[in-house]
């Protein structure tokens, strides 16, 4: 099941600097298991969304080409200290996870 993710948001000038670390194997479906020689089934995050106080600020798609335990950094102008930032992801098996933090 989905492991917890780490999220941090700090003010940098007039923008909130958001950093998210998601726990996910990000299997492309092209890699072979070293022991069995079988292909490891694809298992990667397909969709990421972020919102500030419930207003969407980022919607993203990913392929298996993003590294294992994906890192995502972005900056939101106009966000203030104390605003709530929520990040969600969905993977290709339908698994999902969500995390939130307040801007410090």
């Amino acid at each position: 099941m989905a492991e917890p993710m780490r999220i941090r948001a700090t003010m940098a000038g007039d923008a909130a600097d958001v950093k998210v670390l998601m726990n996910h194997p990000m299997e492309t479906g092209l890699r072979k298991d070293a022991k069995t020689g079988q292909l490891v089934p694809a298992h990667y995050i397909t969709e990421v969304t972020a919102a500030v106080n419930g207003t969407p600020v980022l919607k993203g798609g990913m392929s298996g080409g993003v590294s294992k335990n994906p890192y995502l950094g972005f900056k939101v102008k106009g966000a203030k200290a104390g605003d709530k930032i929520t990040v969600n992801w969905v993977d290709n098996t339908g698994d999902k996870n969500s995390a939130d933090t307040t801007v410090a």
Binding site: A15, K19, M26, T28, L30, R31, K32, A34, P41, A42, T46, E47, V48, A50, V52, T55, P56, V57, L58, K59, G60, G61, M62, S63, G64, G65, V66, S67, K68, P70, Y71, L72, G73, F74, K75, V76, K77, G78, A79, V90, N92, T93, G94
Partner: protein, 154 residues
């Protein structure tokens, strides 16, 4: 006894494959995303770009790609894309020689600046391409990253 065991095993893997296929089929591309899932499955850069609707994007010096010149480990290549183009509404990242070049695509809205930082896998030395959409137009920039150990395959 052994034959039965073999059949059971076969049956099990067969069912597993079907489950994966069903899960994949159920995941319809979301309307709101700029890039349809088909763009992510494209096997070459031209198809990925046309899937993004960004074929013939203009080269731009206002896009900065921050990535290492030489990546020792292709499984984790830090990439930062900064777009100084006003009204940047989406940023896509492609690794040109990967099996599926389109790595990620982000729609930015509600005050999010033209900046994305992430880490990608690269199978081999290739150009990293960023595609930025701003005001309905597409812009692009590239940076070569030399990979000494591949990140795809074993």
């Amino acid at each position: 006894m052994n034959a039965l065991r073999r059949n059971v095993l076969k049956g099990a893997t067969g069912a597993g494959a079907v489950a994966v296929a069903v899960a994949a089929g159920l995941l319809k591309p979301t309307q709101v995303l700029a890039a349809p899932r088909s763009a992510f499955e494209a096997k070459n850069v031209a198809d990925a770009l046309s899937g993004l609707g960004a074929a013939g994007a203009a080269e731009s010096k206002d896009i900065t790609i921050k990535a290492p010149d030489i990546a020792e480990n292709g499984a984790v290549v830090p990439v930062e894309v900064t777009s100084a183009i006003a009204g940047t509404s989406s940023i896509a990242i492609l690794a040109e020689k990967n099996a599926t070049p389109l790595v990620a695509d982000f729609d930015l809205m509600g005050g999010t600046q033209g900046f994305i930082s992430t880490r990608i896998k690269m199978g081999q030395t290739a150009l990293v391409r960023a595609v930025v959409t701003a005001g309905g137009k597409n812009y692009t920039a590239t940076k070569e990253v030399k990979v000494t150990i591949g990140g795809c395959g074993g």
